[in-house]
Symmetry: C2
Subunit: 375 residues, 2 copies
C-alpha cells in the first residue's frame, strides 16, 4: 500500500525537432500518436503498481479496448489548447487528451452493458469478452452475469483512472481548477444524455423529436466537441470570448456530426463505416432521422417502420425496405440539409473566433472530415 | 450551458459557539449532522443547475439513498483531519466527508446491481426502485433491464459528483493534491476488492482464504478506515509518521470491523442489525468465517455447508442448521478471537500514534463501537 506522497510522472516522448514545425501546422496524426503514447505509459504505470494481482489482466482488457477509436475528444481538446495559445509540444496536454479518451472508454463500456451490445469496433464488447473467458467453466447464464458485473467495474476503473491521469498530467492546479467547470458539465451532460437514451417510451410522440435533440446535444455536441475544446482552451488560460466561441463552433458541429453518424448507421457502406449496416436498424435508437421519418410517414409507412425498426431479427430484405421508406418520407434529405446548415454555421463561427491560425485550420479540417458523406 | 468560470460554494452552517467545545471533544453526531448538511446543500445546488429536466428526479433518488448509512467514512476522514491538527469547525472537511459518502453511494448502487440485491437498508435497492416505477407500463423484463441501466447511470453520477464536491470543498489545491495519492489508492482498491468478490470460482479451495482476506483488506480495511483517515490527515497537512499511523490503526481495525459484520450476518439478531438474518446466508459470499468453517468441517458438515450456504431458497430451518454447523467447526470462536486480536492491535497503534487528543478519544470510541458484539 502506498503511503508516500509523490507519484511517478512518465514523460511523454515528443521529438523536440517536431515542436516548432507543429506550431505552424497541427498534425492530427501526431496528436493521436502522442495521446496514445501517454495512454500507454499511464497503463504501464498502473500495471507496475497494481494494488492486487487481479488488476493486470483487467488493465490488458482496457488497453485492448482503447486501442480502437478516432481520438476525436483528445483532438478537440488539443485544438482548444492550441487555439488559446498553448504549446503543442507540451506533454501535459496529451495526458489530458489521454484522460478524456479513458473517460470515453468508461462511457462506451457502460453504454454497451446497458444496450447489451455484442460488438464494438469490430470486436466483442468488454462484457462479452469477459463473459467468454469463463463461459466454458461456468455456463452461459453465469458467464453473462459475470461479464456484465466485471464490465461495470472495468468501466468504473476507467472513470477513476481518467481522473487520476488528468490530475497527474502536469498541468498546474490553478489551470486545472479553471477547467473543472467544463469537465464537470461534460461528465454530467453525458450521463443525462445516456439516461434519456435508456429511458424507454417515457415521452409522447410529439416529445420524441425534442428528446432526440436533447440526446444529440448532451451526448454528442457537448460531450464530443464543445466540452473537450473548452477544457483544452481553459487549461491554456483562455479568455471568456474564446470559451464562448468554442460553443458557437462546437454545438452546431457536434449536432451535424451526430446527424451524419445516424445517416451512416442507416445508409452507410459497411466496408467504409466498419460496422454492420444492420446493427443500428436492429438497435432501433430513436434518432432525429427516424423520428422525422415517423412524423412524415403515411399510415402504411408508419406501420412498416414500427414493425421493422428496432426488430432484432431484421434481415437484409427488411433493411432495404426500411431504408426505402426512410428515403420516401423525405427524412434523409431533411437531415442532409440540417447537416449542411450546421456545418456552415460552425465554420462561420470559426472564422470569427479569436483562435490561433494553426488551430483554425485544424478545426476547419475536423469540421469537414466529421460531417462528410463517407468517412 | 455554463461558460462562466466560478462556482457557487454554499457555506456549511456550523454554529460558531460549538467550535471551541468540539476542539476538546469530537461529537460524532455533530460530525454526521454537518456532513449531511453539506450533502443536502450540494444536492440542492445540483438540482438548481440541472443540465436537463431528467436529472432532478434522479437527484431525488440519490437523496433518498444517501439518507441512510452510518457515515463511517466521513467520520474517519474528519478524525484524520482533527488528528493532524485540522480545525473541526472548518466547513471544508465536512464537504470532503460528504464527497466520500457520495462515493460510497456509487459503490453500493453498483454493487447492488452486480449482486442483483433487492433490498438495502430496509428499502428497495436503486435498480429495483427505478424498475418498479415503469413496471406497470412496460412489463417486468423491460422494467428490470431499465432499472439496472438507470442504476448504473445513477451510480456513475454519484461518482462524478463525489469528485466535483471534493474539488469544490474549499480545501486548497495544494492540500487536495497532497491527499490524491490516498484518494487514488482508495478508489482503485475498492474496485479490486469488488472484482475479487464477483469473480466466481476462479480460485482453488486452498486459495479461498487468501482471496477472502484480500477482499476484506481492499473493500473494508483500506476503503472504510485507513484511506478516509489518511485523506483527512493529508488534507490537514499531516506528516509521514501520522499517515503511517493511520495504516497501523486502520488496517487491523478495518479487518476486525468486517469480521464482526460477517459474524453478525450469520448470527446477528435482525431486530438489532436491521437486516434479515437469512440474507447473507442466501447470498453465499465467501467470507473468512465461512471459508474457515469449510476448511475445518468434517466431510458430512462440508456437504451440508455446500448445500445450504448460498442457497437462495434457504428457510429458517436450514439457516439454523447452517449456524449450528459453523459453530461446531469452531470457526465462530476463531473469528471472535481474530477480532479481539485486531481490535487490540489497532488500539495499541492508536496509543502510540502522533495524533491530537480529541482524535485519539474518538478513534478509540469508533474502534469499540465498530467491533462490539451487538451494534
Amino acid at each position: 500500500m502506498p503511503t508516500g506522497r509523490t507519484a511517478e510522472r512518465p514523460a511523454v516522448d515528443v521529438a523536440a525537432s517536431e515542436a516548432h514545425a507543429s506550431a505552424a501546422t497541427l498534425h492530427l496524426d501526431r496528436i493521436r500518436w502522442n495521446v496514445d503514447a501517454a495512454l500507454g505509459q499511464f497503463m504501464d504505470a498502473q500495471a507496475g503498481q497494481a494494488a492486487d494481482e487481479c488488476l493486470p489482466p483487467l488493465i490488458e482488457v482496457i488497453r485492448g479496448f482503447v486501442s480502437g477509436g478516432k481520438r476525436l475528444r483528445p483532438l478537440f481538446c488539443v485544438c482548444g489548447w492550441v487555439a488559446a495559445g498553448g504549446d503543442v509540444a507540451a506533454p501535459a496536454v496529451f495526458r489530458v487528451g489521454a484522460a478524456l479518451e479513458l473517460f470515453h472508454a468508461f462511457a462506451l463500456i457502460h453504454d454497451d452493458v446497458m444496450d447489451a451490445s455484442a460488438y464494438r469496433r469490430g470486436a466483442p464488447t468488454v462484457h462479452r469478452l469477459l463473459a467468454q473467458r469463463v463461459e466454458e467453466r461456468h455456463g452461459v447464464a453465469t458467464a453473462e452475469r459475470f461479464g456484465e458485473s466485471a464490465a461495470i467495474l472495468v468501466g468504473d476503473i476507467c472513470l477513476v483512472w481518467s481522473d487520476e491521469l488528468l490530475h497527474d498530467s502536469g498541468v498546474s492546479p490553478e489551470r486545472l481548477s479553471g477547467s473543472r467547470l467544463f469537465l464537470n458539465a461534460m461528465r454530467t451532460e453525458i450521463m443525462a444524455g445516456q439516461y434519456l437514451d435508456v429511458e424507454t417510451g417515457e415521452s409522447g410522440p410529439s416529445d420524441e423529436l425534442d428528446r432526440a435533440w436533447r440526446v444529440i446535444r448532451h451526448k454528442t455536441a457537448a460531450y464530443t466537441v464543445t466540452r473537450p475544446l473548452q477544457i483544452g482552451a481553459a487549461l491554456a488560460g483562455a479568455e471568456e470570448s474564446l470559451l464562448q466561441a468554442c460553443d458557437a463552433y462546437g454545438s452546431p458541429l457536434g449536432e451535424a456530426f451526430q446527424l451524419r453518424d445516424d445517416l451512416l448507421g442507416v445508409f452507410g457502406n459497411p466496408s467504409v463505416t466498419g460496422k454492420s449496416d444492420l446493427e443500428d436498424l436492429r438497435d432501433g435508437k430513436r434518432t432525429v432521422l427516424v423520428t422525422l421519418a415517423r412524423q412524415q410517414a403515411t399510415p402504411g409507412q408508419g406501420a412498416a417502420l414500427d414493425e421493422l425498426y428496432g426488430n432484432p431479427e431484421l434481415g437484409e430484405e427488411g433493411a432495404d425496405r426500411l431504408r426505402e421508406i426512410i428515403r420516401q418520407t423525405g427524412a434523409e434529405d431533411v437531415v442532409e440539409n440540417m447537416i449542411r446548415v450546421r456545418r456552415d454555421r460552425a465554420l462561420g463561427a470559426l472564422e470569427r473566433a479569436p483562435v490561433t491560425e494553426p488551430a483554425r485550420r485544424s478545426l476547419a479540417e475536423l469540421a469537414e472530415t466529421a460531417t462528410r458523406r463517407q468517412r
